[in-house]
Every structure is written in C-alpha cells, then in structure tokens.
C-alpha cells in the first residue's frame, strides 16, 4: 500500500488554522480597542476641566470651586516617603537573598516563596495592617508617615522580586571574575553586579512606585479619606492623594464631581504613562546591555 497524503484533510486544517489565527488577532484588536476607549472616554470627559484653578484650589463642596492642589502635593510627599522607606529595604533584601544567602538553604527558599506570596495579598489587607500597626499601634494617627509606612510594606515585595530578577539575569562569570581577582563578596556586588543590574532594578522600582501612586484601598483603611484643605508640610500632617480624591468625587452623586474625577484621572494616568514609558526605555536599555556582555 502506498502512502497517499489526504490533501482534503490538510486543506481543512489549514482553514481551521487560518480562522484560529484570525480569531486570536481580532482578540488583540479588541483588547486594544478597550484600552483606547477607556483612555479616550476619560480624557474626553476630563480634559476640559483641567484648569489653572483646578490645579491650585483645595477640594470644596462646590464642584466649580473644587481643586486638586492638596492631593497633588500629598501624592508627591507620599510617594517620596514611600520610596525613601521601601527602595533600600527591597533592594537590600533582594541582594541578601540572591547574592549572600546559601542557595540550598530551606529557610531561604521559604523566605523567597513568602515574598512571592506577599506580592499576591490584596492591598486592603495591608491597609488593615497599617491601621492596626501604625495608626493605632504606634499612634501615628492619619498622618503621612503612617500612610507612607503602609505603602512601603505594600510595595516591598514588588521591589524585592524585581531586583531579584535583575540580579539573577547577570551571568555568574562576572561574579567568578571578581572573586578570581580577590574581591570580597560586597566588592563583587557593589562594583560588578549592581552597576550591571541597575537599569533592571530601576525598572522594578518605577513600576512599584507607579503602583503605589494608584493605590487607594490601603489609604482608605488607614483613614485618609477626610477633608484636607491644605498641602501637608510635615510627615505628621494629615494628607490626601489624587486617587483618594478620585474615589471621593466618584462616590458623590453630583454630575459635576464626576467631571472633576475624570480630570483627576487624566492627570493620574498621564503621570503613570510617563513612568511606564520610562520603565520600558530602561528595560530595552537593560536587555541591550545584557546582550552585549553575554
């Protein structure tokens, strides 16, 4: 018996394949359309309301007078403090786990799994933690400091995981070369590994902080949703941030406040997109650099 390929069957499968490819392509287009619609509709609703007054006024009971100034300053303060607390903590933890600890240790393995798990815990749970630990436990009240500490714990796993990945991407030959010329472990980390991994670490930090900018639930938990008319001037002042203002305005029934929410969202998303593009540029740079040294 001779082999006779069933061209009819092949044709059928070829058609299936083409349809399948077309469907997956259409889905991509749909996802992009959703993104475009989301961005367009909010921008269309919000941009006319971004005025000089809106950026300079405090919040108000009247939509025409309400502004975003304290929230803008609050966000800058909060993110600055969060970065201050969390960046060193996350990066140091990652250096310890990747460069110092024994690879075979079961405890270290557990810590690593634990960090992955922490990254998946809902942000509102961090809010409960912040409320109990910082607001009540340390009696920090509804201050910027309590908010920033809560946020730091929230972004800590993200920064650590990103740094771990950046460190793992550096080939071992760099470490061996360092040890080979008599460098100590810290010298290897400081002069060989960190400079190479820096763009990757920065990408992780930017993404973690951009997550912190948009987070609302933990701040609501620690009681940050109160009327704040002035920008904070010290870390023990009460504060408000853009995302809290968005939530506040969206939950009010008046149409005017929804327009303001849209305007605030436009500002928030613009900031996030800038940070996002920065991280993409850094990521591409990091990949090029890695490809060059390998």
């Amino acid at each position: 018996m001779t082999f006779r390929p069933d061209f009819q069957l092949y044709k059928k499968y070829y058609i299936y394949g083409t349809i399948f490819q077309f469907i997956t392509f259409i889905v991509n287009i749909i996802v992009l359309i959703i993104l475009a619609y989301l961005l367009y509709s909010i921008t269309y609703a919000g941009v006319p309301y971004i005025t000089k007054d809106f950026l300079q006024n405090p919040p108000s009971r009247f939509p025409e007078k309400a502004g975003l100034y304290p929230a803008l300053m609050g966000t800058v303060w909060l993110i600055g403090l969060t970065a201050l607390f969390s960046v060193a903590m996350g990066v140091f933890a990652a250096i310890y786990l990747e460069e110092y600890s024994s690879k075979k240790s079961k405890i270290i393995e557990l810590i690593k799994i634990n960090i992955q798990n922490l990254a998946g815990i809902p942000s509102i749970i961090y809010g409960i933690l912040g409320l109990t630990l910082f607001v009540r436990g340390l009696s920090l009240g509804r201050s910027l400091l309590a908010g920033a500490l809560t946020m730091s714990l929230l972004v800590l796993p993200t920064i650590t995981i990103a740094t771990q990945e950046a460190l793992r991407a550096i080939p071992d030959s760099f470490r061996f070369a360092g040890y080979g010329i008599g460098m100590t472990r810290w010298q290897v980390v400081r002069y060989q590994i960190l400079p190479l991994a820096m763009p990757g670490i920065l990408t992780g930090i930017i993404l973690a902080l951009s997550r912190a900018i948009g987070e609302t639930a933990p701040l609501i938990m620690i009681g940050a949703l109160t009327y704040v008319a002035i920008a904070p001037s010290s870390i023990l002042d009460s504060f408000t941030v853009i995302s809290i203002q968005i939530f506040n305005w969206t939950s009010l029934p008046q149409e005017g406040f929804h327009k303001l929410a849209a305007a605030a969202i436009v500002i928030l998303i613009a900031v996030l997109l800038i940070m996002n593009s920065l991280s993409i540029v850094l990521r591409i740079y990091f990949q090029r650099k890695l490809r060059k040294i390998q």
Binding site: Y10, G17, N28, A88, I113, N114, L153, F247
Partner: protein, 324 residues
C-alpha cells in the same frame, strides 16, 4: 584516580577544621571576614528577614482581633449564615452573602479575561512578528497598570450606562456585571504575561518535532503547545482569580453595597473587600462587633488568597522544573 599526597592533605584538613585564619595567618586576616564585610552581611540579612516580619505581622494582627470576633460570634454562624446585617439590631453575621458577591464578581472577571488573555498570549507567542510583539506587549500591559479606582470610575460612568442603553435596560446603577467586566479587563495582562511565560519555557524541540510529523500550525498550538503549558496557564488563572477576589476599589464603586445571596449579575451586591471599605469609611466605634468584623473578613480573605497564591506558585515551580 590519584591519591592526594598525605602532607598536602594534612594541611588542607587542618585549614578546614581549624579555620583558614590560623593556618594561612601569614596572609593576614581574610578580607571576607573584615569588620565591614560582616557588618554589611548582617545589614543585608536583616532586610531579608523584614519580609518575614511583614507576613508574621499580618498574620498576628488578623488573628488577634479575628479571634476576639470569633469569641463573640460563633464560627458556624459566621460561615453558614445567609444574612449579613452587622449594622441592624439584632445583628445578623452570616458572611455567605459577601462571599457570594465576591465569587460572582471574580468568576465573571475570569470568564471575561481568560479567553481574551489566552488569545493574546497565543497570538503574541505564535503569530505576531517580533516588531508587532514589542509594540503590543507594553500597550496591553498598560491595562494592568491602570489604578483600580480608575476602573471603578470607568465602570460606573461608562460601562453601566452602555449596558443599560444597549443590552439590559433593567440593570441597577450599581451592579455586579459592570464590576466583573472592569475587573476582567484589569487582569487580562496578568493572565497574558504568565501564559506567555508558560508557553516560552516549552523547549523548541518539542514544537519542531510536532512540525516534523507533519502537523499544521493549528494542531501544534492546540494539541502540543496548549497541553504542554497547561500547568502554567492554570497557575495564571488561579493567580488572576485570587487578584479578582482581593480587588477592592472597582467593586466598591461599581458593585454597590447591598450584600445578598444572588446569582443575578444585574443586581447590586457587596463583596468582602467592599464591606471592609464601608466599615472603615463609616464612624464605627473602636471595640464594637462591627469593628471586629473587618478582621474576621480580612482573615477569611487572607486565607483564601494566600492558599490560591501558594497553590499557583507550586504549579509554576512544577512547570519550570519539568522543562528547564
């Protein structure tokens, strides 16, 4: 195999047992044991352990006040009661309506996001050219980076009116459907990126082997690549589900605050997370039962998401071990 000369062996054994400082003392102290090196190691180790402290702190905080709650309210009543009315008299503290609300939003979100996310992953890994892939990936990731409060606004002001106008004229202003849709959109990138990773680790030779047998691309994808990456894709779905369960701001704004046992997506519901926010927005007196409910619900939420995440991570570990 050559046996090591006894003299050399003796020195080495001595070096190992008595410490190199003593034996090789003529080189001075080993630089790796200098004060600064040891100090740096300790500082780094301290930061490594902070993450453990965070987990312990979360567990402690939730357990401590959660246990106080369960001393006042029986376990059975809490987990089997079908009415949730903590603010009325008498208080009815059955968590099932909140669990019900959480589940229908999370399941709705998964139903929406899995086909979309998976198709994106298949297209990007199998069909798209490299240039297209590098353009599309960051664009789709934007969806995951948009804050959830923005999704809440979007659901309330755009998705619900759209649904009311074209599909369901009887839909409530606050409804589970719009919340499911936006939560679903927000987790598309999560499913897509994890599935892409799961597909990437399949060795090229398995795919080449399938092509060499004369399979068409359609068959390679559906009969080889998808089954081979099944554990990774499952992990991505579990992680996405856990993310949807913990989702807060979008459901607070879009799904309303009326806890009830219902499967109707067009009605207003309340999720566990939304209830916690509701309590913290109100002026609940410290020490009251309502105050302790947030810890009981927080604990439930923590256990659910922690279990799901742990399970998903085990799956991820497994598929990495199989192929790498």
């Amino acid at each position: 195999m050559e046996v090591m000369p006894t003299e050399q062996k003796k020195i080495l054994t001595q070096a190992i047992t008595e410490g190199r400082d003593k034996v090789f003392s003529r080189f001075g102290k080993a630089p790796s044991k200098s004060f600064s090196e040891v100090l740096i190691t300790w500082i780094l180790a301290f930061h490594g352990w902070i993450t453990v402290f965070v987990t312990l702190a979360i567990t402690y905080v939730l357990l401590k006040d959660g246990i106080i709650f369960f001393q006042k309210v029986s376990f059975l009543e809490f987990f089997t009661g079908t009415v949730w009315g903590p603010f009325g008299e008498p208080k009815q503290l059955g968590v099932l309506p909140l669990v019900n609300g959480t589940l229908i939003v999370a399941i709705g979100a998964i139903v929406i996001s899995v086909p979309l996310g998976l198709s994106v992953a298949i297209y990007l890994t199998q069909y798209a050219s490299r240039l297209l892939r590098e353009i599309l990936t960051p664009l789709i990731e934007i969806l995951g980076g948009i804050p959830t409060v923005v999704y809440g606004y979007f659901a309330l002001d755009f998705v619900t009116p759209l649904l009311k106008k074209y599909f369901f004229p009887e839909i409530d202003i606050f409804n589970a459907l719009s919340a499911s849709i936006v939560v679903g959109i927000s987790i598309i990138p999560l499913i897509a990126s994890l599935s892409i990773e799961a597909i990437r680790v399949i060795p090229q030779k398995i795919q080449s082997g399938a092509y060499a047998l004369g399979l068409t691309k359609f068959h390679v994808i559906t009969r080889v690549i998808l089954p081979a990456s099944l554990s990774g894709i499952t992990a991505s779905i579990i992680l996405a589900f856990s993310r949807a369960v913990g989702e807060t701001m979008a459901v607070v704004l879009a799904a309303g605050s009326s806890p009830k046992m219902t499967l109707n997506y067009l009605e207003s519901i309340q999720t566990m997370t939304a209830f916690i926010v509701q309590v913290s927005l109100g002026d609940t007196p410290y020490g009251s039962i309502e105050y302790y409910t947030i810890y009981a619900i927080g604990l439930t939420l923590f256990v659910i998401t922690f279990t799901f995440n742990w399970f998903a991570l085990q799956l991820v570990k497994k598929f990495r071990e199989v192929y790498v």
